[in-house]
């Protein structure tokens, strides 16, 4: 690999001049500029980002860190895509790590990002893990929370309005005549699950429907859990006529279980899922499920722009961006039922 020195000696100038030619061409005679450029081309020289990074004090390393539970979850894939697109157009590169909600892996990854001195980090936090974030804070590395929020707004955050999303879903079911509506959601430590449950309860209350604890099931965000919880819910003495599934994995679990139990959707049980599937894949499902769709790609974009702006202006107070989800009505709720 050619270095600045190689170029400078080939061009017959000092390394400072070469550096300047690259970073601030206006500060250099057209003549030198030309000579240097020729040398650069001849040698195929590219500045080492590593060396550059070491030198430039608070200058950009132009790397962003992204930590997510699992890239195979279409929600996070879409999120990452949004992040990467904005990052790439702004000349930033992405470091990606999957941590499977495992706190050990997570803190190891955050540690790595710190030692890589990335310019910023985007990740969905779990309540109470402010420690990791503070660690980054102290190292002067800005953080943007996505999808979930912290208890206190310590850093920029981009989420969707989960309460509104769940409320829309449940209200839809109520308007269709349902009174016994079950909720199968994720762990309440993650803020989004908590909020969705809150939206569920609010919608019921607003329509004067009592909240029946038997109809509320919470577990981890896995498909397996979706199955188990569905079984549990359908086994109670007076089972629900409609279900709200708290995330995409659970939606699939619920659908699979109902199919197994020969319970038809929407005839016997109506279903609204949270999180849409990519590629209009939902349309290929049987039946195409009505879902609460989050603008996931947007979340990624906004989060990244927020991060870039904070890198510019580190002292700006933390911002909270709340995007609105949308109810995609498809076939899993049927049409109005009487009573």
């Amino acid at each position: 690999m050619a270095t600045l020195l190689d170029v400078s000696s080939k061009a017959g100038v000092s390394i400072a001049t070469v550096s300047r030619t690259i970073n601030k061409p206006s500060s250099v005679t057209p003549m030198t500029r030309h000579k240097v450029q020729a040398a650069i081309d001849a040698l195929g020289y590219r500045p080492s980002r590593v060396a550059r990074r070491l030198r430039v004090e608070h200058g950009s390393t132009h790397i962003l860190g992204v930590i997510i539970p699992d890239i195979q979850n279409p929600f996070f894939a879409e999120l990452v895509r949004g992040i990467e697109d904005v990052a790439q157009t702004n000349g930033y590169t992405l470091i990606l790590a999957n941590v499977d909600e495992d706190p050990v892996r997570q803190s190891r990854c955050l540690e790595t990002l710190r030692t890589e001195s990335v310019d910023g980090v985007i990740f969905p936090p779990v309540t109470g893990e402010n420690a990791s974030i503070r660690m980054l804070h102290e190292a002067g590395i800005p953080v943007v929370c996505v999808d979930r929020r912290m208890d206190t707004l310590e850093c920029d955050t981009v989420v969707t309005d989960n309460i509104a999303g769940a409320k829309k879903a449940v209200t839809h079911l109520i308007q269709l005549g349902h009174r016994r509506i079950g909720y199968i959601g994720g762990m309440p430590i993650v803020s989004s699950s908590r909020e969705r449950r809150m939206g569920y309860e609010t919608a019921l209350q607003e329509h004067g429907i009592p909240i029946d604890p038997d109809l509320i099931c919470e577990g981890t965000r896995s498909k397996e859990q979706g199955r188990t919880l569905t079984h549990a819910l359908m086994d109670i003495s007076h089972p629900p006529t409609a279900l709200l599934a708290g995330n995409n994995l659970m939606t699939l679990g619920v659908m699979a279980t109902l199919r197994e139990r020969q319970i038809t959707i929407p005839e016997q049980v109506a279903l609204v899922g949270y999180d849409d599937l990519p590629w209009n894949l939902a349309l290929a499902l049987n039946p195409p499920p009505t879902t609460v769709r989050q603008p996931t790609y947007q979340i990624g974009c906004r989060a990244t722009r927020l991060l870039l702006s904070r890198i510019e202006e580190p002292q700006r107070p933390p911002t909270l961006v709340v995007l609105q989800p949308e109810l995609k009505i498809r076939a899993s709720c049927g049409s109005y039922i009487t009573q």
Copy 2:
């Protein structure tokens, strides 16, 4: 951020001793080791990977670059997951870039990876772009090709046996009695598409069925193309009774189009798709499609191990790993039909 110097002065030793304590504890008195460790803990010191990388000559930067068309494609998501898992357990970090099959974006990304002096790169090449790879070669950065192969085996490669996969699929259809089998595949510049078509043709030949060019459609790997090509194929005078879709996006496009045209699967047209869907999502489709399943996660793992071993031993001759795909028989081909 505390530096070596901070630690050394706090511990009352030289920076060299601190460095040694970290990298080769055996070369240091238990007593100093203890002092240094205490200082490190007190200061929360972590070595800067950036500085380390600059110094260590051909030592590891412990970063791997991964370039893919689109992380939202479940195939690549699964691939990346395999890569990341192996990387992470070996202490490597991943840089990820989506390039949408765009050569400009791709070469820009490869350039970035070079200037980041990553330890190695994993990516699915397109025929004829050996240039980019050579560039990395010259910079001494090893490359592993996945999913697709180059014309000449210049670097380690991990693929599945696409010919065998397509052949299995088509043979299955032939055994079910089909004679007019259409092929809707991706662009022949990518080796996997080329090979799948080859497998398709071979299977027909082996059963003495003439190849009808009208039944072969090729386009980009998008869902839209899947739609267009399906329309084209079903509009010919003597349309096929069975279809092989060349990749996951196309499979979905085909299914959607057939549904639109009220053509039932498998009654009116049998279908085999290439690439399975994650999360057993295929089971939720209507009908669950028979697919050729690649061991995608495995590909990622193998590729990464291959890359790590090459980093260890740069001179080893290039290896080709071919994994076997599997035919997942589900409902989209129906059962045997007579004639």
